[in-house]
């Protein structure tokens, strides 16, 4: 009887240990991924508005998407002579990956297959950040602030954005018990601030 109890206990513990370990690994990965996603979006917004009058930088300022102009090319990681339009938007459910934030430059995903071979080479040579997709997203909510940190929806007055990112991922073998993490970041349109002081 004691042997039987021991066996049952060992099986139960092994199952629980596997589950706990998987959740821990997935959660740790998610926290790291969430930090990288926040840093990526912050870096993206920091280069908004280069070469563009500050009143014209923000084109669309919705609670789930942001479109702005800049002369910085994220695809090439360099300043260009053309003004580019950058879209940050949540795309609806694409299956196991949940919702996806897409980052487009002039309506082309920055990691669009057309760019890939070029970008792969470029990444190695120039340490270009991959933009394009942010996966495992449950929600993304923008709110916008003016130069005095008051909430505004007037595009020409926007100087910074607060972004709440929610992430969700199914842990291995536990589809009904998704892991959730969230992060709030505040991104400043530094070039607009510089123009204010010019």
């Amino acid at each position: 009887m004691i042997g039987g109890m021991l066996l049952v206990m060992i099986f139960t513990f092994t199952t629980q240990l596997t589950e706990a370990a998987q959740r821990a690994i997935y959660t740790a990965t998610m926290i790291d991924y969430m930090d990288q996603a926040g840093t990526k979006i912050n870096a993206l917004v920091a280069l908004a508005g280069i070469g563009v009058p500050m009143e014209d930088v923000v084109m669309i300022a919705h609670s789930d998407s942001l479109v702005f102009k800049t002369m910085w090319s994220y695809a090439l990681d360099e300043l260009t002579e053309d003004v580019h339009t950058i879209h940050i938007k949540v795309e609806p459910d694409v299956g196991d990956l949940g919702n996806v934030i897409t980052i487009k430059q002039d309506n082309a995903l920055i990691s669009n297959p057309a760019y890939v071979s070029y970008v792969d080479t470029y990444v190695d040579a120039h340490k270009v950040r991959y933009y394009g997709y942010i996966l495992y997203v449950e929600s993304m909510k923008f709110k916008y602030f003016d130069k005095d940190d008051a909430i505004t929806n007037t595009k020409k007055d926007i100087r910074s954005a607060g972004i709440e990112l929610g992430f969700k991922r199914d842990a291995a073998g536990m589809v009904n018990r998704p892991l959730r993490t969230s992060l709030y970041i505040r991104c400043f349109f530094m070039n607009s601030y510089m123009r204010m002081g010019a």
Partner: protein, 140 residues
């Protein structure tokens, strides 16, 4: 059941209980670490928010370099993040400092200012997260 068997059964119960308690304690500790890690990441971004704000307002000349200390020293803020259900307390200090960030006595002239941000609040955050940035006067 003789005495030896009863003793063995008792030892088995003690062994199982010990394993069970140890296991549960490890799981709780692991969960604590993960909660803490998530809060550290958030706290880190809140520190950046304040330090970036100083940068932005210096760029726009809304904030004069000489007023960094008077504007930011010994200030507190509170940031509630609804999606996490957590409230973070930010303690900000600012000082005149030398090029290595060491604070100077009041009244000493320097081209450098230091702003420190310390974030605490959520019970699961084991230690406050602190960050500082040096600001340099770039025009004379």
């Amino acid at each position: 059941m003789n005495m030896m068997e009863m003793l063995l059964a008792l030892l088995a119960v003690v062994l199982f209980s010990t394993i069970s308690l140890t296991y549960n304690q490890s799981i709780w500790r692991q969960t604590d670490y993960l909660f803490n890690a998530q809060l550290v990441v958030q706290s880190n971004h809140l520190c950046h928010e304040v330090l970036d704000e100083v940068d932005a307002k210096l760029f726009s000349k809304q904030l004069d370099f000489d007023n960094i200390v008077s504007t930011y020293d010994k200030k507190t803020r509170s940031s509630t993040i609804a999606s996490q259900g957590e409230t973070y307390n930010l303690a900000i200090t600012a000082a005149v400092c030398d090029s290595t960030g060491i604070a100077l006595a009041i009244g000493e002239l320097s081209l450098f200012r230091r702003v420190d941000v310390s974030v605490s609040g959520p019970p699961a955050l084991k230690h406050p997260v602190s960050m500082y940035r040096l600001y340099t006067r770039t025009y004379m």
